[in-house]
């Protein structure tokens, strides 16, 4: 469904954030991108969305090359959930306004029912409709962000570290929500995270990135079995298990 071929992103000033990344995601699949800060993992998502300049390469969805700027039809099908729910919701817009904006842009008329349905689906319920972001907890805000992305009934969700700003117990709730929505609606996910355990939980396959380049692609089972072939992935796997005292030299 999503086909990325040899993507390059170069920002003004010559920073080459992504240097030749290719991957393909099938319909209904959940695909993870893992890497440390500065590896270009978020930039890949932003490039798909049209938020980062593509300097070379091809981005295809359903076999069709994406146009720049992206068409309204693209945003009906592909939506993004951002990392920090404290920064991605307008502080002076109510939940109702946050959710009606995409509906107005895309010419929907049945705002009322769609907003209530979206809020119910993410486990908040209609009573949250007229609250401001500061009246919500971090987990509730991220649920609103998910509801905003889902209200246009897209087929693809791009998830940029959707739980890294949340406490562990809230992270579990949001991950369960995303998992349930994907099963119910047959959504396709591309999820970026620095946490290997989160990606292993959520994704069928994953790509490890370092310095703007793809290091290796693994299936979930290979990751679980610690069958990483490159030293960098092995290092990440070891680090994700927690602290071990240095070997005595």
């Amino acid at each position: 469904m999503i086909d990325i071929r040899d993507l390059h992103v170069t920002f003004d000033g010559g920073v080459r954030a992504v240097r030749g990344v290719s991957f393909a995601v099938a319909r209904g699949e959940s695909y993870g991108i893992v890497g440390e800060s500065g590896s270009g993992k978020s930039t890949v998502l932003r490039a798909i969305c049209g938020l980062a300049p593509t300097s070379a390469g091809h981005l295809l969805i359903d076999g069709k090359e994406l146009t720049s700027p992206r068409s309204p039809d693209f945003y009906r099908r592909v939506q993004m959930v951002f990392q920090d729910p404290y920064a991605s919701l307008h502080p002076r817009h109510t939940v109702d306004r946050v959710l009606s904006e995409p509906l107005a842009i895309h010419g929907f008329t049945d705002h009322e029912t769609r907003i209530e349905r979206a809020l119910t689906e993410v486990g908040l319920g209609p009573s949250f409709r007229f609250r401001y972001p500061h009246q919500l907890s971090g987990g509730q805000r991220q649920r609103v962000a998910v509801a905003r992305a889902l209200i246009l009934e897209p087929q693809v969700l791009l998830l940029d570290e959707p739980t890294s700003a949340l406490d562990a117990s809230i992270q579990a709730e949001v991950l369960n929500l995303l998992d349930r929505l994907r099963t119910e609606r047959g959504l396709t996910y591309v999820m970026v995270s620095h946490d290997l355990a989160v990606v292993a939980h959520m994704c069928d396959r994953l790509l490890v990135m370092q310095h703007g380049q793809a290091v290796e692609e693994l299936t979930r089972d290979a990751l679980r079995a610690h069958q990483a072939t490159t030293p960098y992935t092995q290092q990440l796997l070891a680090a994700s298990e927690g602290y071990k005292p240095a070997p005595v030299q």
Partner: protein, 276 residues
């Protein structure tokens, strides 16, 4: 040997709806060991660390039955006494080097400033100690980092520079408040190695405040679990998997695990009684 004794520590902030107690009767002792304090945001773990150093931001108030550091009563210590202890015999590493280093001073002069306040030594002596300390936190080119400004360093380097600054006075007690959460996992492990070695070599007492159960259980000797301003459970880090309190169990279970994954993830059902 007991380095720090905390008995019934309370931290209160006045709010429009009356006083709000964010730390409610925390009691523990610390020897020359690594003690972890874990809890979620708002559990009072950072405020506990700050209160020990007398860094509770005003208008917050602290009260305790006992708060003593190596025989010194911190409750009635004067501001001057606190200042001479803080940064000298006890210091604190903050979470994010971006906000905790002075952006308009070089790393070198910030480290030397710590030495200026605590002890008397010549400029060249101070510089030598600063460089040696930067080497001790495994900075490859200490001369360059000594002359660098914080914005010229990566997150991991900045964090190491901050640890160097806090340790150059050779404190007996180090409070590290989420010292590695802003860092990448591989850098995180390196920074922990440095702290680990310093605790072992210098016989320092370390309070490691973190929300990361996996990290704390693998790094510390003993763990306090905080919830709503109280210590709900205290246990050996190696026995964390045998935790009795439902909150500790819930925190451990809700993490996705690389091997033997459960779907959906168990979520935490908060019991109102835990906060009482």
């Amino acid at each position: 040997m007991t380095l720090l004794t905390v008995e019934n520590l309370r931290v209160t902030f006045p709010t429009r709806r009356g006083p709000s107690e964010v730390v409610r009767g925390v009691t523990f002792t610390l020897g020359r060991e690594r003690l972890g304090i874990v809890g979620e945001s708002g559990s009072g773990k950072s405020q506990t660390g700050r209160a020990i150093l007398g860094l509770t931001p005003p208008p917050g108030m602290i009260a305790a039955d006992r708060l003593s550091f190596d025989g010194i009563n911190l409750l009635n210590a004067s501001r001057a006494e606190m200042r001479s202890l803080r940064g000298g015999r006890m210091s604190m590493v903050m979470q994010d080097p971006k906000f905790s280093l002075n952006p308009v001073m070089t790393i070198g002069s910030q480290i030397m400033e710590a030495l200026k306040f605590h002890g008397h030594s010549s400029r060249s002596e101070k510089k030598a100690r600063a460089i040696a300390m930067l080497e001790a936190v495994q900075i490859r080119d200490p001369e360059r980092v000594f002359r660098a400004y914080p914005h010229e360093l990566s997150g991991g380097m900045g964090q190491r520079a901050m640890i160097a600054m806090m340790l150059v006075t050779e404190p007996d007690l180090l409070i590290a408040d989420e010292p590695t959460s802003a860092l990448d996992v591989t850098v995180q492990i390196e920074v922990l190695r440095i702290l680990d070695r310093l605790v072992a070599d210098r016989g320092m007492g370390l309070i490691f405040i973190s929300h990361d159960m996996r990290l704390v259980s693998s790094f510390c000797d003993r763990v306090l679990v905080m919830y709503a301003g109280r210590v709900v459970e205290e246990l050996k880090a190696s026995e964390l998997s045998r935790a009795k309190h439902p909150y500790t169990q819930g925190l451990l279970n809700c993490l996705p695990k690389l091997d033997n994954d459960v779907r959906p993830l168990p979520t935490l059902n908060r019991d109102g009684a835990w906060a009482l």
